[in-house]
Symmetry: C2
Subunit: 299 residues, 2 copies
């Protein structure tokens, strides 16, 4: 089954201890789409400026990502510049140019409206709610958010959660939103607001899944050649939701396995700048790494 | 088979967000012994002052810990006072009184010298080496260390590692010792110095095991009622080495399973101040939690 993603496409300038990449293809929708494309057909809704090159479209089209929902507006594409700390566990935003993404009012193409699986990448909860309002009857909705919206649009975010099946957040965001230091207790508070499950991303420390049916934890896949963590969270969500869409099932056991796929797909994403980490990656390589991962945590 | 532990016994005063405990039984040898006692006979080598009460001895003797190696010296017992941060991921030492532990020159009772499994709890590497020199022909030696020795006795520590099978350290210590940010690469550097394996403790983020035979990772067991992290690392080592001693095998697969037992035993330790977290814990409860843990990380 298909997945629709609504999010950003960007030119990223990223500095990590491994080097610097300038004006490379990035954005939440980009990372999510490529990650999910290994599992299911992806339909992308986003906006770019006139400077967005054909070559970038081709990268996505080559992964069979449907670009009917990709709008082109006058002016420049969204630009983001960030720099990572020495251990790559934290980053600083150096500059942001919203450009075409600034007044983005996503319009879901009519052919996308009955898509069963939906990923609302990080955006204002109001925008996320408007997107959801255009969908016919989604079967499973995953949402991401960020500190800014927790701070400035807490009520809208809370309202949105009533319509979300799985919230994907990082540990800091969950602590900020719930004001609860213990992640398991915090996640359980979120379950009280609507979602069936919460996936908590902890970067190099792995992830948690908390649902009414139970609790799971996974370490991160050990990446020795970590180059750039940008996009890891969106790739994680892409692997997770892509797997659910492929399987066409969203039981707790499916979510758990989706968490493992998300972990493995994210481990490829961080091995290079932009989408370089995915070079040469096919489904067989993902399965191989998944098997190795399973063996590493077995006892 | 038996395990000998050489380490500290202390009166701890600990402040955590959950409360304060004053002058309670603590120390690395204490936590290790109780943890390992669920799996194998434990022989304790340590020193206390004249103020160490019979009741504390009884706590250990009740877990069938052999106290022939527990020396009593004039004066007071080692005292440590610490305070934890709000998220309990870091702590500050408020005060230390070495007292009887100050000039501790451990003497291994002759009946202990052929013990096959040895845990060298945190102490100066010179002291650890002297202990090891008194052992006949240990089958498997585990050593812990701390930032102070890495800073002040790096060469002695490096020399000690040639005689150590498994180094158990936390993530900060490994980074400090190897000056390598990536834990997997850092652990592999340590393998080059002698040990067959390195276990890296990451607190609430779980643990890693790196050996020549492979790499394993485990998340921490989710403890929602975290009261006091003191002793978690020693309890982890106790569960791990206790299991190896019980099994009488030290293959990579045994180390991996030992890592899981260490994880589970540590999760009990942190549920109370001092040894309170072990109240009512028996082997059946450990097995039950181990099974639950295995289910939580399966996918």
């Amino acid at each position: 089954m298909s997945v629709v993603v609504v999010g950003s496409l960007a030119f990223d300038t990223v500095t990590t201890p491994k080097g610097k990449a300038t004006d490379v293809l990035g954005g939440s929708a980009t990372y999510f789409s490529v990650a999910a494309s290994y599992f299911a057909p992806v339909r992308l809704v986003g906006v770019v400026g006139e400077d967005f090159p054909e070559a970038h479209r081709r990268v996505l089209a080559d992964r069979r990502v449907d670009l009917e929902g990709l709008e082109t507006k006058p002016g420049r594409t969204f630009r983001w510049e960030g720099a990572y700390s020495a251990d790559m566990n934290s980053r600083e935003t150096v500059s942001v140019e919203l450009n075409a993404f600034g007044q983005f009012e996503p319009t879901i193409p009519s052919g996308y409206r009955d898509t069963p699986y939906v990923f609302l990448a990080n955006a204002s909860p109001r925008t996320q709610a408007k997107v959801l309002g255009q969908m016919a009857r989604p079967r499973f909705v995953v949402a991401d958010t960020m500190d800014l919206w927790i701070e400035t649009q807490r009520e809208d975010l809370t309202a949105l959660l009533r319509k979300v099946d799985l919230l994907v957040v990082n540990d800091h965001e969950l602590r900020q939103f719930t004001r609860e230091g213990n992640l398991f207790r915090g996640a359980r508070e979120v379950l009280g607001l609507g979602p069936r499950a919460v996936a908590v991303k902890k970067g190099e420390h792995g992830s948690l899944l908390v649902s009414r049916d139970g609790v799971s934890m996974l370490p991160a896949y050990p990446v020795e050649s970590l180059v750039d963590p940008t996009g890891a969270g969106d790739a994680f969500a892409g692997g997770l939701l892509g797997y659910l869409a492929e399987r066409g099932q969203t039981q707790y056991s499916d979510l758990r396995r989706g968490l493992a796929y998300g972990t493995v797909v994210a481990s490829f994403a961080v091995q290079g700048f932009s989408l370089d980490g995915f070079k040469g990656v096919d489904r067989a390589l993902i399965e191989e790494r998944l098997d190795r991962f399973a063996a590493m945590i077995a006892f």
